[in-house]
C-alpha cells in the first residue's frame, strides 16, 4: 500500500488531486460520473461579491492540446454560494472545500472571504482580476497589489489563504515572495495564460471578447517551470496547476515542488479525469518505487 495522503497548510487531504476552479462548477455536475468524495479537495467556481453574467459568447476556442476560455467569472455571487451551493455540495461531499474568491477591489475580496470563512477549509484568492482602483491592472501582476490583497484577506479569515497566481508576468517569483511576506499560507499556480485565436474564414477573433485564458496540456511545461521556480524560492506550500491530465503529470508537478495538484481543463474533455488519475496513482508510484507521495514533493531541487 502506498501513501497518498498529504497535508496542505495544516489541512489533511486523502490524496493530492483537486479539480481546479472553473472546471468543476460547484461539484453537482459530476455526480453522474463518479462520487466526488474520492477527491483530495474541490476548488469551487470563482466567486465575486455580486452575481456576474460574464462575457458574451463565443467564450470558448479550441487549440492544439488545450482551449481558450473567456467565461468572465460568471457566478451567482457570494450569498448564493454560501447560502445554496456549498450547503448543497455538503449533502454529498465530505472532503475539504476550497473557496475560490475573485474581486475587483480589496473590499470585495475581504467581503467575500469573511462571508465564506466558516464554510470553507481553504480560501483560494484569484488575483488575476483587474483592479478597478488601479487603472484596471491585474492585482496579480504587481507584487505590491498582490501583497495588499493577501494582507487584507488574512485579517478577515481564520482559514489557510492560498493566493492563485497568474503566469502573465515577467517574474512570478517576485509576486510569490510578496504574497508569502504578506502572510499567505500557500500559493496556487498557474492560472491561465492570456491567448487568442483568429477564425481565418471570418478574419475575426474566435472569442467574442477577443482574448481569453489558455489552458490544457499545452501549458503543462510552463506550469511545471513556474511551480519549480516558486517552490524553490518560497517556504509556503504550492498547489500546482496547469495542464495536468495524468497520474504521471501529478508526480512530475509534485517533484517540481507542489504539495497538491489541481486538474483543470482535463475535467471538461474527460469528466472521469480526476477519478482515473487517483486510481492510477498507486500503480504509477509503484513502478517508480515511491511508497509515500510526500517523499517526492520538491525532490527535483535547484542545485
Amino acid at each position: 500500500m502506498v501513501n497518498l495522503t498529504v497535508r496542505l497548510a495544516g489541512v489533511a487531504l486523502q490524496n493530492p488531486v483537486i479539480p481546479a476552479s472553473g472546471t468543476f462548477g460547484f461539484g453537482g455536475e459530476f455526480l453522474d460520473f463518479y462520487d466526488p468524495d474520492i477527491l483530495g479537495a474541490i476548488s469551487l467556481k470563482g466567486t465575486t461579491r455580486e452575481p456576474r453574467f460574464g462575457n458574451p459568447t463565443p467564450r470558448i476556442a479550441e487549440c492544439s492540446e488545450g482551449l481558450i476560455n473567456s467565461v468572465g467569472l460568471q457566478n451567482p455571487g457570494i450569498d448564493q454560494v454560501t447560502g445554496n451551493e456549498i450547503p448543497y455540495l455538503r449533502t454529498f461531499y465530505h472532503q475539504p472545500i476550497i473557496a475560490n474568491i475573485s474581486g475587483f477591489s480589496v473590499d470585495e475580496y475581504t467581503d467575500c472571504c469573511s462571508k465564506v470563512d466558516s464554510l470553507a477549509d481553504i480560501i483560494e484568492v484569484n488575483v488575476s482580476c483587474p483592479n478597478v482602483h488601479n487603472g484596471g491592472m491585474s492585482f496579480g501582476t504587481d507584487p505590491k497589489c498582490a501583497a495588499e490583497v493577501t494582507e487584507a484577506v488574512k485579517k478577515v479569515t481564520t482559514k489557510p489563504v492560498f493566493i492563485k497566481l497568474t503566469p502573465n508576468v515577467t517574474d512570478i517569483v517576485s509576486v510569490a515572495r510578496a504574497c508569502e511576506d504578506a502572510g499567505a499560507d500557500g500559493l496556487t499556480l498557474i492560472n491561465t495564460l492570456l491567448g487568442m485565436r483568429i477564425d481565418i474564414k471570418r478574419r475575426q477573433p474566435v472569442i467574442a471578447n477577443k482574448m481569453g485564458g489558455f489552458s490544457g496540456p499545452a501549458i503543462f511545461p510552463v506550469a511545471v517551470r513556474m511551480v519549480y521556480q516558486v517552490a524553490n524560492a518560497c517556504k509556503i506550500p504550492v498547489m500546482g496547476c496547469g495542464g495536468v491530465s495524468t497520474a504521471e503529470d501529478v508526480i512530475e508537478m509534485m517533484m517540481a515542488g507542489a504539495t497538491a495538484v489541481q486538474v483543470g481543463a482535463a475535467n471538461l474533455v474527460e469528466p472521469m479525469a480526476c477519478k482515473n488519475i487517483i486510481e492510477e496513482l498507486p500503480e504509477v508510484m509503484g513502478k517508480l518505487g515511491i511508497n509515500d507521495i510526500n517523499d517526492i514533493i520538491g525532490v527535483c531541487k535547484e542545485m
Binding site: G22, T23, F24, G25, E29, F30, D32, F33, K45, F53, G54, T57, P58, R59, I60, A61, E62, C63, S64, E65, G66, L67, N69, V71, Q74, G216, P217, A265, N267, L268, V269, E270, P271, M272
Partner: protein, 247 residues
Amino acid sequence: MVKQDKYIIKENVRVARGIYRMTLCGDTSAITAPGQFVNIRLDGLYLRRPISICDWDEESVTLLYKVVGHGTEKMSLLPVETELDLLTGLGNGFTTEGQPAHPLVVGGGIGLAPLYGLAKRVGECTVIVGSATKDELFYLDKFRGLGVEVVVTTDDGSEGIKGFVTDGLAPLLRDSSSSFTYFYTCGPMPMMRALCNACEGMDGQLSLEERMGCGFGACMGCTINTVNGPMRVCKDGPVFRKEVIKW
C-alpha cells in the same frame, strides 16, 4: 442522467452535399428526449464535438451532421467499426408531453436533424424544411414516411417554395382550415427569430446552438442570457421555451 460509454460506428454515409449520417451502436439508455445531444471525443482534437441526436432506439443512435470544420470533417472520414467515446443523454431535449396536437415543426439547414426524432414521437404535425439549395436537402422521404405533411423552401428556389421558412409558413397560416397553436424549431438564429415573429400568439420551443466547452454544464462556456437569467445552452437547454429567449 449523463452517460459516458464506447460506441461502434455501424454506418457513416453522405446523405446530401456536405451532410452525413452516422449510426452508432451502444448503450442508449441515457437518451430520453428528442433534441438531446451527444459529445464525441475525436483523436487529435482537444474538445469533444457536440452533435444533436436525429433518432435512437434501444441499441443505436443516429446522428446527422454537416461538415463545417476540422471535427466534422474528421468524423466524415471515420470507417465503420471505429470505436468512439461518447457522452450521451446531454441537454434537456424537447418537451412533447401535454403539448397541443398537430404542431408546426420548422427546421433550417442541419437544424432539421433533431426534428426527425421529434416528429416521429409527436405523430401528426406539419414540417417546414428550409435549405439554401436543393443539393443540401436531406431526409425529406424519411419525414414523408412518417405520414406528415412536408413543406420545402429553398433560398434559391431550386426546390419547393423560393424563399425562407417563413415564406413556406405564410400560406399555411392563411389557410382557414389550419389552426396551429404550437411550434418546435431548430435552425439558424435569424431564421428562428423570423419564425417567432411570424408565429406571434403561438407558443413554441426552440433548440439553440452555441460553442461549447464541456457539454455537461461544468465550464459555463455556452451561457446565454434569458428572461430567467443566465442559462447554459448545454445543460439548461439546448431547448428553450419561446418566451424565455431574449432576442
